[in-house]
Each structure stands twice: as structure tokens, then as C-alpha cells.
Amino acid sequence: MYRALGSLIESPVAEHERLALALGLPEVPAATEHARVVRMQRHPYASVYLGAEGMLGGEVRDRVTGFRRAVGLQEEAGAEADHLASLLSLLASFDSWRLEESGAARQALLVQARDTLAWEYLLSWTGPYLASFAGCGAVFYAEWAALLGRALHEFCEEAEFPGRLPEALRTAPSFPDPAEASAQELVAALLSPLQSGMIVLRDDLERLAEEAGLAMRAADRRTVVRGLLAQEPKTALEWFASHAHGCAQRAGERGPRRIGQWWRKRALRTADLLSDNAARLRTAPA
């Protein structure tokens, strides 16, 4: 089932119809819907959510690749080892291999490897990621996210996890104080889920612009955020603070409690910092 769920986050193809049918999901949307909801906004890669830069690739992807190599996997994962479909496929494979394995020690090792994969590279980010599908306007993907959330939640109940947080969360850089950070650093931190504890989609930015009556540039997210902050810094910071609060509330909905708490705390701290700075802007002399 994990493999099937992973496959469905790829661009829709005809084979997805029978997968969706088997999983009781609604009709598979058109490729354009996938592009709008997933490809352009909710990038299904661990590195985007676990990397300090909030971008594809880098150290996180290297670590996933290293993990695959460490467990003896030589098949070509290429530059996409941290894709959600790849990670879920590997999660499912561990269970298949365990069933084929007769030795108890090997079976135990496979379970350990499976749980490590889930803890370090899946559950560490899927909570906030799946939560971002709420209100995405696409029934299929909303239900898909809910189902995957359920499946992972059930997995957590059976699995044994280490006593400490995943490596990426333990070593995550903190969100900078906007009063001390350069504009560039602030923008980068706002768009890095690991630093800010929140996921900022392009849809969110459009909402901010609309609600605040600001102009939104047709550009990449960094440029857009820079533009919004430049136009109305106080309003923008307040909006981001409010968004961080919302993310904090949703952070613990699915997945392991400890990880959920981490994301919640991180988002709340970000909200506090942004609110404080917005307040300072209000009181600062003209």
C-alpha cells in the first residue's frame, strides 16, 4: 500500500486509476491539477523539508543515498533518492524482504532498518507536509494525504523508534531574529520549513497579498516575499506570524508526538519572533 500511495504523488498516468480504485480514492485528477497542487507547490522531497536551505538536494539527499547504500541497495536511485515515492517504496520493500527472510537476526535487522528509514527520513517531515494539503482545493490529493497520514500513523503504533529526535531536527539551525538578520537571511529562513517550522506555499503568498492589498510579483517565492516585505513590512510580518501559528496548531495532528512537538515549538517560536518584530515596527519612530 505504501508503494501505491507513493506512486500516486507522481504525475498522473493511466495506471494510477486502478491504484486509486483499489485504495478507495476519488478519480485521478488531470496532470494540470497535479502540477498546480504538487509539482509547483508541495514538492515531495525530504530535502525540501529537512534541509536548512529548504531546497532540493544537498546533504539530506546525500544522507538518504548513503542510507540506501548502507543497507546494501545498489539499484539506481540517482538524484531522486529522497523523493516521497522512492522513500515509501523502500519502506514497503523492507517488509517484503522481511517476509522472504527466514533468519530471525536478519529479520530484526530489516525491521530496524525500516524503522530508521521511517524515523529519520519520512516521519520527520511528512506531518507538516501532509497537513499542507488541507484546503488545497483538490479532493483527490486531500484524501490521498489523509490516507497516507492514517497509514503512517498506524505504522507509528507498531514501530519502535529511537529515544532521540531525527538527526535533521536535532541539528536544525534556528530561525534568526528578524531584528538582527539581513533581509536575505530573513527571506531564506521564512521559506525554509526546517528553520521556520512552517511551510509557505505560493498559494499562501497570494492569499497574503490579497488580504493585505499588496502587489505580488510574478517571480520565484524569494522575490515575492522580498517584495511583500518591502511594501508593508509590518503587515507582512504579522501575516507570517499568524501563518506560523496556524502551522503550529496543525503540526501535531499526525505522526509521532515528539516530532509533532518539535515542529509545533519551532513554528511558535517563529511566530513569536515575527510578532515581536512587527510590534517593534509599530512603535518605532517614523
Binding site: 495506471e15 483499489a22 492514517r150
Partner: protein
Amino acid sequence: MSLRELEARVSAAKQDVEARGETFYPGSSRVHLAAYPPKERWNDWVELDAKAWPERKERRYVLVPTTCFNCESACGLLAYVDRETLEVRKFEGNPEHPGSRGRNCAKGPATVTQITDPDRILHPLKRAGARGGGQWRRVDWDEALDDIAGRIRKAMDEDRHNQIMYHVGRPGEDGFTERMLAAWGVDGHNSHTNICSSGARAGYHFWMGMDRPSPDHENARVILLISSHLEAGHYFNPHAQRVMEGKRRGAKLVVFDTRLSNTATHADHWLSTYPGSEAAVLLAVANHLLRTGRYDKSFVERWWNWREYLEETRPGEPLEFSAFQRALEAEYAGYTFEFAAAESGVAAETIARVAEAVAEAGTRLSTHNWRSAAAGNLGGWQVARALFLLNALTGAVAVPGGTYPNAWNKYVPRPIHMPARHPKRWNDTTWPADYPLSLMEMSFLLPHLTAERGGSLDVYFTRVYNPVWTNPDGFSWIEMLTDPERIGLHVALTPTWSETALFADYVLPMGHSAERHDVASYEQYDGRWIGFRQPVLRTARERLSKGAVSTRGANPGEVWEENEFWIELTWRIDPDGSRGIRGFFESRERPGEKLTVDEYYAWMFENSVPGLPERAAREGLAPLEYMRRYGAFEIDAGVGAVYEERVPPGELEDVRVDREGRAFTRAAAASSNNVVPMPVVEGDEEGRRRAGVEVDGVIRRGFPTPSGRLEFWSRTLAEWGWPELAVPGYSRSHVHPQNMDRDQMCLISTFRLPVHIHTRSANAKWLNEIAHANPVWIHPRDAARKGLRTGSLLRVETEIGHFVGKAWVTEGIHPGVVACSHHMGRWRLSDGPGQGEPLAGAPPGRRAEAGAVVSLDRDGGDWRMRRRMNAGPYRSADADTARIWWTESGVHQNMTFPVQPDPVSGAHCWHQAVRVGPAEPGDRNGDVVVQAGKSREAFRRWLALARPASRHSPDGTRRPYWLMRPVRPERQAYQLPEPPGEPA
């Protein structure tokens, strides 16, 4: 619904779908290669037309597999045939192909530009004026077939079989044509191999009986390449992907290459060896293994023919392995790292590091040499022999991560008719007694041998071969091809125009990879597979029920395929079957009628490919239908160390084991439908055949060598005139500094450009856009000394002439060496389309895409080629020809190289001793000048190095009978004439 119920539903759906042979998980390219169109949808695949963007226009395709015909790898292709128009729109990889696994290099997808090339030859053409005059008239196939068949029949009736010759460039198939020549009784097979791989293959052949390496890069700890094999060369795509997989698993890559090739840039250790010094470095590595005792002594003791070595070379020594070990160490003690460093120019420390890596690799050492150093140097065959010494020392032979002999990783299915006959006559023109150990035909000497020994050919086929451009000394080929006394009728079978086709009497269009049938199998990993090439439009028509047609009916214009052509020609040579030839091309289902390609391949796939009928039946298909649908089939994987296998008791009867341990039996050999070429393993004097060799008291399969073991010491070399070269060694090349004048440099001329493949890619516009020049690589120190800068015109003087090219100053070349790829310098003599197809409609000012238009001038014995027009844009049916932005097309350097046959392997030694300097007044880019007299002198000088059979044969024959040979004549023909004649 609970998650468990959902999971059960998914599992049930998966089982249901996969039971139908369909794909459940579409997969993703990031996990594996399942991102290809699922095979159950190959009959009706829908894609948006990229060229119609932004309109969303759907195109419906039928996907038909075939195999690429550009290089020899035979990688799988999927042709996307438009269901409406029945046109091939594109080619992608075939994920069902076990060798290439869905991946291709640039040349595979570029096939679409070859089949749609507006200049391609679409109809049979016959010369209308003088040879090379560029005048042609269109003829129909019947006229051409009757004319050619008539001449061949007459030659046979007059016992002039040796005047019929088939000269092949890219075979691309396994044995069809060789069997046809055997059926004709003609020793007329001539290949290009002695200008290509035969040097290295000779080295392997003397060691293990089989002549090609099959390295298991994927599982190696150290991968040692004597080549730029990651970017070019034989099987490079199937090998390159496995090299990269090996690297990902932690393998170290060692590359010997004088140039900083793309491959060298991927190496952990790049050794920029001075050309010809490679064997010295390899032997230094061997010496390190011996000195430090890190070799597999058990393997050496069990599988080397060390007893023969001791008996023949150290008669005073006891016949004990310890004595051999001492002798072995003494043999290579002189090859120190310092010696190798002095020869190669590579630091001793670097060589030591490589030696240590090899020592640590154990049996996981995969090595490969195909052309490169082995094709460049006098004694180049010793490079492969020294390289395989490392495998033989470490026991890395046919074990995971090691190097396998090719024949155990290759499968040639037995065909419906297998001619058991052998030609009665020996062809001295291709197999002169001067070169008794030549691995293959002395093809590149043909013009000289016909000129100096009076030979002539009545019917000469060049087939996907372009010796005028490819071979050294191309002007001697032009002289021969234009001489009616030497060449009666020249028939060029080719898919593309070439410099050789310009001098033909008939130019007969043969199909590209998507337009012909062939079966091929190549050693690309430890497994055996067959790939099926097929005319995709013919198959698509059948699949879409649009009516069956012959290959010629389905292909563009009147382009044909060779299978059907040869069947038709043979029937016309022997129309009533009285010559005993036609029977080999008759139907079994319909006696007295012609064999069809459908019957030929249906029989082969039903009867000769283990597991294929069963696999096909599982999908409710006949074997031929299965191959037409998937294009490839893997017979088995993990073949392993065949030499270790015990010979089953059923094959052992009245066994005799001789003192060398060779076991002979009276039991018949187990029948096999794999007819892969192998050397002849001789039986004993009492009529038993050899079953194997006794090792550890057990009769095992062993190796197909005279001794049954790996031949460290070669009796063949020792007894046929080369005792000093009987063990792997190093001798200084003709381009060693001591063999050149102080003002000379070595020119490396053999390397390929990654996107080109000799003549065959000349009509691929995409590939020409990527690479269209061959500048001369020169080191900054040498360039400064000679006053050259990048882009400077320079003159390169060889022994017989000179060429003018452009300099490329780079540190990517060894000082003292210059390099120029042979993959450029294409030319034609006029600017008419295809050199003489009707000019009507052709716009004025037309230019050649890939090559220049040149003039050829002859002044007495001297030849000069000069460009009249560069490459450039022109109008044609293809709008892209008007967008050609380049004018450079490189220089045809091979014209200026004399023939340089290695006296042992027979391979042409490509490297040249040259003088390099700025161009002289009047020189123009692309100029080529050759003095024919000097070319003949060079031929005679190199011929004098040979040790002819007439003086050195130990048994009065022309050639050791056990050595492999295409279209082997009957045994009696091996006898030298009585009294032994001295070659002229």
C-alpha cells in the same frame, strides 16, 4: 474501510494485473526504469506532440523494438511509429533489453535523423560514367541482382571462387553472411578487424582461446580500462552504465589513456602513459603482485600451463610449481616501478598506488582493452596479453567482478540451415602466408597485395564499410577501386553515401537499424542474451493489420535488407539448385521455395533459444511474435566459471588423459544450439575428441586452448617464429622515442568522438551539429616551442605525406604527443545530392552537411586533396539543412598514414611518427598530400618484419589450425603449396 482491508485490496489488484502480464506500478524513473511506457500499452501509446505546442495535440503510436546499428553494442531501441501515418517519429531505449536496459547514447535516438536524412540513398544505382565520375542511373533491383549473380555464377563455374569477396565494416549480426559464404564455398570473407580490435583480440586469443574480454564491471573492486571506454568504444553504453554502478559500490576506476578523455576525468587513477608504454606499466603491476606474494597461487597452479613453460624454456628446472614461481618472479623482476615510469612518463609513485589497488582487489578486478594502445603500436597485442596477466595472476577470470571470456557470455542461435561445408580454396589475398598468426584478414593490405602480387577481384562487395575513408593509405584504395584490372565489379551495400561508394559500380541501399532483420548477442555482463533487429514499419503494419509486406515494401523508397537480398541473390546464382548452394536458402515448410525471413527467425526462436518458447507461451505468443514484441531475450545470467565445471560422466567414454592433463573421450559432445565461434580443439591421434582437462583429479571443461589451460607460455607463438614473445612481455613500439628522430612526435589517431561512429553517423544531423571538427591536440609546451596557438593552422608530416589541420592547445595531452580523432574529415567530390542522383530540383549553391566538397588531383605518383567548398546550409526537404551554422568538417588524416601491419597479430599499428609545425605558405585547412611511391616503400618495409609461414611453419601449413578464422576452409587448404613458395 480499515487500512488492512485496503492493503488486501491493493495486493489483490496487483496480483490480478500482473497475472495478465501487465504493469501494476507504473514506477518512477527515480526508482527504476519502469518510467518507460508500460509494455502492455506499446500497441497504442498516446503522447502529446511536442512540436505542436502550445496546442495539446495527441499522437498515437505503436512502439516497435529493434536494436541500434550504429556501433556494435546492439543496444535496444523502441521505435515510435505513428499509427496514422506509419512514420517513425522517434527512437528511445528499450527497457526490455538486458544489455542496454533502456539506456542509449546519443547515437541511438539519432537514428531518426539517419532514416529521414534527405540525402539518403533510396534506390539502387548503377554507375553511368567512369568510376568515381559521379554519374549514376537508377536501376531496378532485378537488373542489379541478375547482373551480380551472373558474374558470381560465372566465376564459380570457372573455378575463380577467390575472386569473389565480401568486405564488411560493421557486421551487426551473428554469422548469417559467414554461413552464406560457406554455402557458396567461397573463402571471400574480409573484415575491417585488422584496423580495429584484432591487436587486443590476438592477445586474449593466445591466452585463453577466446578472443574478447567480457568484464564484470558492476561487481568489481578495481576497474582497469586501457581506453576511453566510458564515452566511446565497443559496448560502451552497456559497459559504461555498469562501470558507474561499480563506482557507486565503491570500485576504483583506473584509466590508461594518453589523452585526458571524458573517461579519464572519471578515474580515481588516470595514467597518461606515453603511447606504447602501457604493457611496461602493466608488467610493473604484475611484478608488484609477484614480489609481494599477492597473487592467487592456487589458481595459477591449477589453471596456467606452467609445466609446458618449464619444460620448454627451463629444461634444467624440476617440474614443480615452486620452480615455476621462481621463474615467474625472475621473468618480471626487471619491470620495476622506476622502469615503467621511465618508459611511460607516469610517476613511479602513481604506478605503485595503482599496483597496490590491484593487489587489494583480489578476484574482483575487471579489465578491458579493445582498440586504444593495442591498435596503435607495433606489438600492441602484448598490451592485452599483459593486461590479462593481471587477471590470470589474481584469479579474476570468469568470477564475479572479474573478466570473463566472451564466448561464455554470448549466444549465437543455430539457424535453420547450417552449412557444414568449407571452402576448398585458401584465399591468399586476405590470408597471405606472410602473417600466419594474423587474427583476422589482412584487409588493409588489399590494394598493395593486388598491386604487387597480381591479384584481382571479379565481384567485390563492400558492406557498411568505407575503406577509402577508414583505412590507412586511402589513395591506394582509390587507385585499386578505379583499376578495372584489379576490381571487376564493385558493389557497395550501404545505408549512407560514403567515400568508397563514390567509386562503386552499384550502390545498393540497405536499411538502417529500423529497416532490417538481424540477430545479435554480445558479451556485456555475465549473462547471455539475444537482441532482434527488425524492420519496424513492416512489423507495425502487421501489428496494425495493414497488410503484410516484404521488408523492401515497408522501407522508404526501395531500401532493402541484407537477409532478403542474400537469399534472392543466392537463388539467382544457383537457380536450379544444381550447384548445391540454393538448398541452404530453401524453405523447409515449402520445399522448393525460397526461405523467408519469417521462417528463418521463427525456426531459430522456436528451436535454438533455450527458454524462449516457454517464456513466449506464458504470454500466449509464438517465439517470433515474442521477439517482435519485446526485441530481446535473456537466456541466462550468472554463467560463471565454465572452465571449472566437471565434465559429466555421460560425456566420458574410453577416456585417455595425456601427460599435460588433457582428457580425451570417445563419447560424442553434448549437442548445443549455441553456435558461437570458438577455436578448434584438436582430438588425440587415436580419434578421441578432447573433453576437458584434468585438474585436482577431476576432468573439467578447461579452456579452448591447445593445452586446455590458460596459456602463459604460448606454444603457438614459440613454434611459429616468435619464441621471444611467447610469454606476456613488452617490446618498444615503433613510436618509442628511441625509434623516432628527435624532431618527431607521436600522433595518436584512433580515438573516437563520443557521438560519432565512423562512416555510419555521417548522415545524422544531430550528431554532426554536436561534433564536426577534429583539431590536433597539442601540449602547451610543444605548442609554444612550435609557435602554435589554438586555432593555428598546422602541418602534420607523416612518412608518406602530410595533412593540414587546426591546433587545439591543451594540457589534456602528454607532452611530446599530438592527437587527432579519426572521426572527421568527411568529403565528397561534387556538390550534387548523393553524388549523382538526379540533380533536377536541387538548388544551386548546395553544400554538404557533414563533409567538404573536395578536388582530388593526381600528379604522377602524388595525390593532393583540397577543399572546394566547406560544410554549410542548403535547402532540402528537411528544413534543418538550411540552419547548418558550422563550416568546419575536420581533416581526413588517415589518407596520410602508410600501412603498418604488426608482424604477429596482423593488426594495423595506427600511431604515427610525425613532424608537426606551422602551416606553410599556400597550405589550406583540410589539405591532404600523399606520395604513392613512399606508401609502397612503407608497405615493403613493414612486410619485411613478418615471419612467413613458408619459413616458420612447424608443420607445413599456412596457419595454426586451432586459431579462430571466419569461414574456415577445409583442412587440406591449410597446406602450404609444394614446394613451399616464398611470397614475392
